[in-house]
């Protein structure tokens, strides 16, 4: 018997990745659509899915946020208080659901990625794990005692407050809501605003990386003390600079200073704070899992 076809969307602030694949994680077709206004972007997404001869059985969307995933809420399926003004309060599930007429699974981009990492990647076998992405913005998803954590709405891990030494780093922060929250200090947008160059163009050894590792280490300490994860996955464009991860491990160990008596933290941090096992594929593969769940598979 052939596997049913599923649609997957990783909805990001700069691009939407749309794919067709199977419940086992085989991707058959894929396209990238630049994020413009909702109507332009949705139109291109529909063209991709409707041009196919075989209809998808369900669609999964892992979306940038904040989003409302509370079934029964009047704003279920909406993007809510995003700084991306054209998308604020946009009903993405409604727009795609009414046009494609299939069941839709909807969650945050980081929760989708975490689902995929838990099934096929670096979080496999763990009951409590954290997936953090450091790119244009900073977001995080958590698996706690085997369940994806939603709680009241969804975690908004990028917006925690961390110590900010303004003598060492006078940059006031770039978050339009909070100024110098973690995202305001350590996102790609913040790095570019502070140093005046695209973070991917910063040379190895640039002081930007020490500062970046400092903020992300303080954040790791806070997430470890609050969630007690068995493993932390650090993903996203900024983390592609492979030399940043060892800096974060070293600084996190120093900041915790022996208080959390687990060998994973005291001796094997290279096996505790890790890169994603699925690389940049986690998001779209996770959206496929959301689609499979929506289809009851």
């Amino acid at each position: 018997m052939t596997e049913p076809l599923l649609g997957a969307i990783e909805a990001g602030g700069t691009k939407f990745i749309c794919a067709v694949g199977t419940p086992s994680g085989r991707l058959i077709d894929e396209t990238r659509i630049p994020t413009r206004t909702p109507s332009e972007t949705i139109s291109d997404i529909l063209s991709f899915f409707l041009a196919r001869s075989q209809k998808v059985a369900a669609l999964g969307i892992g979306s940038f946020g904040p989003i409302d995933i509370r079934t029964g809420s009047p704003t279920y399926g909406h993007i809510t208080s995003t700084p991306k003004l054209a998308w604020r309060h946009f009903d993405i599930v409604g727009a795609l659901g009414s046009a494609l007429n299939v069941p839709i699974g909807f969650d945050t981009d980081v929760n989708a990625a975490l689902l995929a990492e838990a099934k096929w990647g670096s979080a496999k076998g763990y009951q409590t794990a954290l997936y953090i992405t450091v790119g244009t913005g900073i977001g995080g998803g958590a698996l706690t005692e085997g369940s994806l954590l939603h709680g009241l709405l969804n975690p908004e891990m990028g917006h925690i407050r961390v110590p900010h030494d303004r003598e060492d780093d006078p940059f006031p922060g770039s978050c339009p809501y909070h100024g110098d929250c973690l995202e305001g200090l350590a996102s790609g947008v913040a790095m570019e605003a502070r140093w005046g160059i695209d973070p991917s163009a910063l040379p190895t050894g640039h002081p930007a990386y020490r500062l970046e590792a400092e903020y992300l280490s303080l954040a790791c300490v806070n997430w470890i003390c609050t969630l007690s994860p068995e493993r932390i996955i650090l993903a996203g464009g900024v983390m592609l600079q492979a030399h940043v991860l060892p800096l974060i491990r070293d600084r996190t160990r120093l900041l915790l200073n022996g208080y959390v008596e687990a060998p994973q933290i005291q001796e094997r941090l290279e096996d505790y704070i890790v890169p994603p096992g699925l690389g940049h594929r986690a998001g779209v593969l996770g959206a496929l899992i959301l689609a499979a769940r929506a289809a009851g598979l």
Copy 2:
């Protein structure tokens, strides 16, 4: 049929509360034992339980920490890296279990309190909730999607790092591990060290309270962004100052600045950050729940 009798211990840094009660939460007998060395304290605890004509069917212990609750771990049942030196690496479950010869349920004091609040108090009906105690130290327990969160070890919520404006507050912090982590800035010990007087003797309107509310609000922001709780319970001696809670609510709302679009946070914070429903009884009642679980009830 009469209910079985259960033993309960709330193990704290200044006192141990020992009680005998029933699975339905009825307390029959209770004593307070000042915390001294492990051998002196354990001896008094055993006298209390062994002096009774009817043996308890199981014992529940909600303990200060950090503790090791991983069944199968070589240090299961031990208190681990506590600043209380005499108790560091003490096998509390082994000492009480071998003397009383009953099954023992063991968890952190805050997890025990949260269990009781979830069954009979302020967290009843919530799937994701947070119980924070601000006393000599600061600790926190979390219920996430219906499960008590343990993860790798246990959360150590008092040790998160928050912004510390050293011009506004030159106090360097009192935590022996981290200096100015949350506990180092906002615990009862920190307040006493900063202001030179017992926090319970500080008059209303003293600047200590504004500062205390500031740190606890920053912490609430971090816990909200990380865990997305449906409700936060603030307990402990410092929170007995009833005027502190409204200060924390106001400041938390300001710091979040509309980013988390939930009516609980934007409109009804007085119903979101709340005092414990069971007051100071939560700990010992939670230990009774741990005992009932250990007895298979």
